[in-house]
Symmetry: C2
Subunit: 196 residues, 2 copies
């Protein structure tokens, strides 16, 4: 018998398979229709599960979207980092990948899911933190590697505010191309670099 509060502790079980099918359905629907273009029922049909299963496990479509966003963000954390030999090259590659990701309906939809989280919802605020920490952990490794090579590096928060924040801002307010002037963004982040 499985304890009802611990279904996620069985990674090979039916709960895990359902979770994976539902996540894949969300990503496919985001890619095809964008955020707001599908319902919980559409996800259930695509994943081949009962709609009630989705609401029992996630509570709402918004919570499911946030769960997918955090999971994708953590998966990216394990993906190979750009390794060009210089911090500038690594940051340019990373910014280019992020701009391309935010230019796709799936990437933009996941960002919007995170941004939409209600401030008053403490559980979900924690997930927003997870989302940005996963990205921050990735870029921290790029910074650590540069520091080991003896390169001057900016602080993590400065880098996030000079490189990630503008890309999110462009993705949301769509006043210019996402990948416009990426070298200028990177150079501005590097202008805050100090040798440690």
């Amino acid at each position: 018998m499985t304890h009802p509060s611990a279904p996620r502790k069985r990674p090979g079980g039916r709960t895990a398979r359902t979770g994976q099918a539902v996540h894949e359905a969300v990503r496919a629907l985001l890619a095809e229709r964008g955020q707001g273009g599908f319902t919980g029922r559409d996800v259930a049909e695509r994943a081949g599960v009962h709609e009630a299963t989705i609401y029992r496990r996630w509570g709402s479509l918004d919570t499911l979207l946030l769960d997918v966003a955090v999971t994708v963000s953590k998966l990216n954390e394990d993906s190979p980092l750009p390794d060009t030999g210089t911090l500038r090259g690594d940051l340019l590659a990373w910014a280019g990948a992020m701009a391309a990701d935010l230019d796709r309906p799936e990437g933009l939809g996941l960002l919007r899911s995170v941004l939409a989280v209600r401030a008053s919802d403490a559980d979900r605020s924690g997930q927003v933190t997870d989302f940005v920490y996963a990205r921050a952990a990735l870029i921290q490794r790029v910074l650590d590697r540069a520091r080991e090579r003896g390169e001057p590096v900016p602080e993590l928060t400065t880098l996030l505010e000079r490189l990630v924040a503008p890309l999110y801002f462009r993705a949301i307010f769509t006043y210019r191309q996402l990948d416009e002037g990426l070298p200028e963004l990177v150079d501005n982040a590097l202008a805050a670099a100090v040798r440690e």
Copy 2:
């Protein structure tokens, strides 16, 4: 008889009074409970209108919140600008006011309402553009005034990405105080200034 598609053309009429009462109720509830802490029924009770009136006019609570956000943004457009005599002083005052605004439940709730807009919803995408254009128009006047004084000024988009984007990022991801290091943000925006 009022034409059903043109109720907003009578600014002194009952429709306008209802709209104002509903907007004031939303702002009060945002300030007291934050976004997500109240329903359309709460707004109706506070404003002294029927709940059905709200859904007939705005369709959903999300759309109402977005309408309030755009209206507040446009009202701010008409408010007096900081006038300290230097661009740096004006931008510091403006950034300080924006940080204080985003630190209040009402300001943060309105930003989240805008950020949550579904990409697939064309009507509401237009409102998101209105929201950021109202803020951009305000800061453009600060830049114009500095240019007339002969000061070097950054481009508007650079200023938005170096000053507004980081503040929004802090408000959403809450990893540091909103008003931390505002002079550094302003100086970084000014580093891109050119004399025209």
